[in-house]
């Protein structure tokens, strides 16, 4: 039987590398922009203009208009989607709606004619921004706690049910970190910003990741009484192999739709779909290669051994 769980050290290493890269990105982001991921106006407050000009526009021209109204340092980004459409994104402190209208009119005059039909303006007061941030964190935390409780209840007849819950949560945190890392890197490279949609993607990824993990755990739960003689590692291995077809098939199906939307779909949900894609991939990966190996590690008490090994390796290096 193909031994998946035996190679668990490698999986932990891969996860550590990916998340390590992400954490590095987040540190860089914090140093450069002040937050580990770039926050949109939904969370940070301020005003965001998404402008579609009908003629050529330059960053300088845009900045000049804003400077005239007292906004000397707006964040200006030039976004381009797969169809070659160009959108200019300008972030400033919160501007009152009346003034924003004046600025927009002036932009249309001084820079280039504006396609109002395809432009957007969001203004959020800092107070709301803070509140939304708090609520978002609360939402994610609550979701995790509730799910932990739910798993413990669902698995109550299995010996050591609490471990299942904890390992599921660990794989969940893994997925959230991967999604955040992805977004942090894209924030540095392409100016992507975290908004309410990102929160939606995260919560959906949580739901999906747990769903996936439960299917495997469920199979383990079923196999334990059926295979009493076998060592834990073997039962777990067997369970993974039995459910892997289904995991991959579902993942594939979801990916078909998401990749199609990424390639052909409208620009406004691109970031959302990309995050979901990364999150779901991570979800499937973590169910098999993180949650289950962690169960085994716990069962065999290997955590202490890992630390010893690391110390040993460092000594010889």
């Amino acid at each position: 039987m193909f031994d998946i769980v035996g190679k668990r050290r490698w999986y932990f290493l891969i996860s550590a590398c990916v998340i390590g890269l992400g954490i590095a990105a987040m540190i860089y982001s914090t140093v450069r922009f002040g937050t580990p991921v770039r926050l949109s106006v939904d969370f940070a407050g301020g005003s965001r203009f998404l402008l579609k000009f009908e003629g050529p526009a330059t960053e300088d021209a845009i900045r000049r208009v804003f400077a005239k109204h007292g906004f000397s340092n707006p964040i200006v980004n030039r976004l381009e989607d797969s169809q070659g459409n160009v959108l200019w994104q300008v972030r400033t402190k919160a501007i009152r709606p009346e003034e924003a209208e004046v600025i927009i009119d002036e932009l249309a005059e001084k820079v280039a004619p504006l396609d109002r039909g395809q432009s957007t303006l969001d203004s959020v007061s800092p107070a709301i921004g803070e509140e939304v941030t708090r609520a978002a964190t609360l939402a994610v935390a609550t979701a995790s706690v509730v799910i932990l409780g739910f798993i413990v209840v669902a698995f109550r007849r299995v010996p050591k049910a609490f471990r299942y819950g904890t390992c599921a949560i660990a794989s969940l945190i893994h997925d959230i970190l991967v999604a955040l890392s992805f977004f942090s890197i894209m924030g540095i490279l392409r100016g992507w910003e975290v908004d309410a949609l990102f929160l939606t993607a995260i919560l959906t990824v949580i739901g999906f990741s747990v769903q996936d993990t439960i299917v495997v755990f469920d199979r383990i739960r079923e196999n334990i009484p059926k295979r009493r003689g076998e060592p834990f590692e073997m039962i777990v291995n067997r369970s993974i192999l039995e459910t892997i077809h289904r995991s991959l098939a579902t993942q594939l199906n979801a990916m078909f739709v998401m990749i199609a939307i990424l390639l052909f779909g409208g620009g406004t949900v691109k970031q959302f779909v990309a995050t979901m894609l990364v999150g779901m991939l991570s979800g499937t990966y973590s169910s098999i290669f993180t949650a289950v190996p962690l169960l085994v590690v716990w069962e065999k008490g290997e955590i202490g051994q890992i630390f010893q090994r690391l110390r040993g390796r460092r000594a010889t290096a």
């Binding site: 709606p97 669902a154 959906t204």
Partner: protein, 487 residues
């Protein structure tokens, strides 16, 4: 067993046909007019703000943090904002209270965001103006000498509180004067603004108390009292203008035009006329709350250009269709006959979902559509679970019938548990979305939730019925064709 199967199958077919009918783009809606029963429901897609463009404004009570806010005052403020918004000519505006301190306003398809905001924020201006003997029809727009807020003319509100006509009188509470009976006019259509500028005698600031009471005949009347300065002005004016009209104007629109019967010197008076208790109350609210009872501050504004959304829809539908076609093909190639049946169930799933969106109705947003497409893709997950289990059972040598049953039964616990976690996150997303005017998030939560619920139905009941049906029909023939069953 076969009998029950057939009836479930019939039920499913009927449901599907009904769903198709609802989903048709040219659906005329349900209109039932049978005697006393009147039921009208338009069945169409409700598009969210990000799809049809428009504006969303979040207003918050502009009072210091700790100060308690009177819920009645917030309700009244909401009504006033709603009245103003109605006058902007937006189809299906939305004005809702959010929590204790906030009001959210959504204006789909609005063309002038600036005017909208200034209209909403403006504290209403109540004026008593000297019409000099001229009776002004309620609903007339007038110009007054009192400096206005933003803009000179304010478009009339569509909903007008029915106010009594010419024979409304205004008189002191002490003397009782008979009023001539004249029937009140129905909803007065807004009349074009007159060019004449009227003198403002007094503004609503001078009103102290306004209330509704019944006179000695049991007819409703409005009693008001004035602050000392107002009482003085009023006494002066009414003494000089007995028999003439005094128009009461709110935001430059005449809401009532009573005739002065006798001088009002005591600083309190009443307005009588042939209005119902409801109309009297309405008028009193307007007099009392002509100004917003609570100052409101704009917290967030979002304006979205309309073309962006329409473009996005087109492209995403195209993309989603491509993706789904791939899914359908995959299922058929990998699982063959059961896969084909699952595809049928999937199509039914899509139809039912969409029908529910139109019926409830659910406001569709871009993420909502994405969520719908995604849930369609993952709807096959339940089927995959079942089929994999069936394959296993068959490999262990179970008979076809037993394998089918075992597949569905064993997979049910997995499906139920895993879908439950998605439902939990839906609930949390919904809570989050409703508290911050993030209707985008709310819409996604609802579409996902509906998707999960319907999925549990189609993946299990529908697919199982199909498979049982096919098995009953051609079971023996299939038994030997393992390939068709996807082994």
């Amino acid at each position: 067993m076969r009998q029950r199967n057939l009836s479930i199958l019939a039920g499913i077919i009927i449901l599907t046909l009904a769903a198709i009918w609802v989903d048709l783009p040219t659906n005329p809606g349900i209109h039932i007019h049978l005697g006393p029963i009147h039921f009208d429901k338009d069945i169409k897609i409700h598009q969210g703000l990000d799809l049809q463009g428009g504006m969303q404004v979040l207003l918050e009570a502009d009072l210091p943090e700790g100060e308690p806010i009177d819920p009645d005052a917030m309700s009244a403020a909401r009504v006033i904002v709603e009245n103003r918004v109605n006058g902007l000519g937006v189809t299906e505006p939305l004005v809702q209270l959010q929590g204790e301190r906030r009001i959210i306003v959504e204006l789909p398809g609005i063309e002038d965001p600036e005017l909208a905001i200034s209209t909403i924020k403006e504290t209403g201006l109540l004026e008593f103006i000297d019409t000099g003997g001229l009776f002004l029809e309620p609903g007339t727009i007038v110009k007054t000498t009192f400096p206005a807020g933003a803009g000179e003319t304010i478009t009339p509100t569509a909903s007008i509180t029915a106010t009594p006509t010419a024979e409304t009188t205004i008189s002191p509470t002490v003397a009782i004067t008979p009023t001539a009976e004249v029937t009140p006019t129905a909803e007065a259509a807004p009349t074009p603004p007159t060019e004449r500028v009227f003198t403002t005698v007094m503004t609503g600031k001078e009103l102290d108390k306004v209330g509704v009471a019944l006179d000695q005949f049991g007819k409703p009347e409005i009693r008001f009292s004035l602050k000392p300065e107002g009482a003085r002005i009023f006494a002066d004016f009414t003494t000089k203008n007995v028999g003439k009209f005094l128009a009461i104007v709110l935001d430059k629109r005449v809401i009532s035009c009573p005739r002065i019967e006798t001088p009002i010197t005591e600083g309190s008076g009443r307005i009588t006329g042939k209005f119902t208790l409801e109309e009297a109350r309405s008028l009193a609210v307007q007099l009392r709350y002509g100004a917003l009872p609570i100052p409101l501050r704009v917290e967030t504004v979002r304006t979205i250009g309309p073309t962006l959304g329409q473009d996005s829809i087109r492209r995403s539908i195209k993309a989603g269709t491509i993706g789904l076609l791939i899914v359908l093909s995959f299922m058929m190639i990998y699982y063959r006959l059961p896969g084909f049946l699952a595809d049928l169930a999937l199509i039914i799933y899509g139809l039912l979902n969409f029908a529910l969106f139109k019926l409830i109705p659910v406001t569709l947003t871009m993420p909502g559509i994405t969520g719908f497409l995604l849930s369609t893709a993952t709807a096959v997950d339940a089927n995959i679970l079942i089929f994999e289990r069936m394959k296993e059972e068959l490999r262990w040598g179970r008979s076809l019938g037993a394998a089918i049953d075992a597949g569905f039964d064993r997979a049910w616990t997995s499906i139920r548990d895993s879908n439950l976690s998605t439902i939990i996150t839906c609930a949390i997303l919904y809570w989050f979305g409703s508290n911050f005017g993030a209707s985008i998030v709310k819409g996604f939560a609802i579409t996902l939730f509906i998707g999960v619920m319907i999925n549990m139905f189609t993946a299990i009941t529908v697919t199982r019925t199909f498979i049982s049906f096919v098995f009953d029909l051609a079971g023996d023939w299939l038994r030997n064709k393992k390939w068709l069953l996807g082994i």
